[in-house]
């Protein structure tokens, strides 16, 4: 477990360093995610070693945003004052993104012969 955690933290650290060195518009952990995926493709055994710990963390992903979610207490004024734009944007954009994503997949799959599932 500890070697796997060390790999995750080192990948994050490498991501944070890369983002700062190149002034990339990405959060450090996202750069770390890309770097670690590339490392896994080159060294599949490393992916097998990290997998159990990564799955344990991802299975409880929801717990990790409770602290930030609790911060809603500080935003009740804004949520009240801007309820209409916020709710309209959330509902419309989520439905539109679902349809756009699925339609693009089906159309391109048909055009390229990637077939139906």
């Amino acid at each position: 477990m500890i070697p796997a955690l060390a790999i995750l933290l080192l990948a994050q650290l490498a991501g944070e360093t890369l983002v700062r060195a190149l002034s990339l518009p990405l959060p450090g952990p996202v750069a770390g995610l890309v770097l670690l995926t590339l490392v896994f493709l080159a060294r599949p055994r490393l992916a097998e070693a990290v997998r159990p710990v990564a799955q344990a963390i991802l299975a409880h992903l929801a717990l990790l945003f409770v602290p930030a979610g609790t911060g809603v207490v500080g935003h009740l004024d804004r949520l009240g004052a801007e309820a209409l734009p916020i709710l309209a944007a959330l509902v419309v954009s989520t439905l539109a993104a679902l349809v756009a994503g699925a339609a693009a997949f089906v159309l391109v799959a048909r055009a390229t012969g990637a077939g139906d599932a």
Partner: protein, 238 residues
């Protein structure tokens, strides 16, 4: 025996209290979710956050004091984002086979999510701070919070918007795609992961296994693309 108020003055500022309260609230939220038959509208995070917010209000505890303890959980958002490399790597064969449809669906879903949200909110008069928190809302929470922090949006407001997006997507997805007659589980799942991250992915796994694994893939890929798109789109509307 000492007065409770005296003991409370220690407890109220001890990180241990708020770390324990965070885990306990999540356990309670998860129990409520199971008791409701795993309906997406009864979201464990929303229940936990509401319980904690009520507790902070009732005890007059400032959010900063609470965060002294909760930061140990919050810190794990970074390693959890990096851990998404594992499902991405596991799906590498799928990605190769359906590379073009996946790329098209990712680009269309991700761009639609960011642009329609910002365009509509800006047209309805949302403030710049709200737009910055809204831009990354379809990405998974750890990534969205990281993006919002860089854009000058509030991480806590973003967390709430991300959760609401996931709930809306999870509630709407099955009736929406059934009404449209869309039957390809790969397309349904992947679009769900792109538009509604982990909450949508959990819902997709309940409906169909293929949809679930494609949703996980969509969530991981959109985490990367939103990080690139959100700052560009915000510059357009901000």
């Amino acid at each position: 025996m000492r007065e409770f108020t005296e003991i409370w003055s220690y407890l109220a500022t001890a990180p241990l209290t708020w770390l324990a309260a965070t885990l306990a609230a999540y356990v309670a939220g998860d129990a409520a979710f199971r008791a409701a038959g795993r309906r997406p509208a009864v979201n464990p995070v929303l229940v936990a956050a509401a319980l904690l917010a009520a507790l902070l209000w009732a005890t007059g505890t400032p959010y900063a004091d609470y965060f002294e303890g909760a930061q140990f959980v919050h810190f794990l958002l970074g390693p959890a984002t990096v851990a998404l490399a594992v499902p991405l790597w596991q799906q590498r064969a799928v990605v190769r086979r359906a590379a073009l449809p996946l790329a098209a669906a990712l680009a269309a879903g991700s761009a639609t999510a960011v642009l329609t949200a910002l365009g509509l909110a800006a047209a309805l008069g949302a403030s710049p701070a709200t737009l910055a928190a809204l831009a990354p809302k379809s990405a998974t929470a750890p990534v969205a919070i990281g993006i919002a922090e860089r854009l000058g949006g509030s991480p806590t407001l973003t967390a709430v918007l991300v959760i609401l997006t996931g709930i809306i997507g999870a509630v709407a997805v099955t009736p929406l795609f059934n009404a449209l007659g869309l039957r390809d589980w790969r397309a349904r799942g992947f679009a769900t992961g792109v538009a509604a991250h982990g909450i949508g992915t959990a819902r997709a796994f309940q409906v169909n296994d293929t949809a679930g694994s494609f949703a996980g893939l969509g969530m991981a890929m959109n985490a990367v693309l939103t990080a690139v798109l959100a700052p560009l789109a915000l510059a357009l509307f901000g």
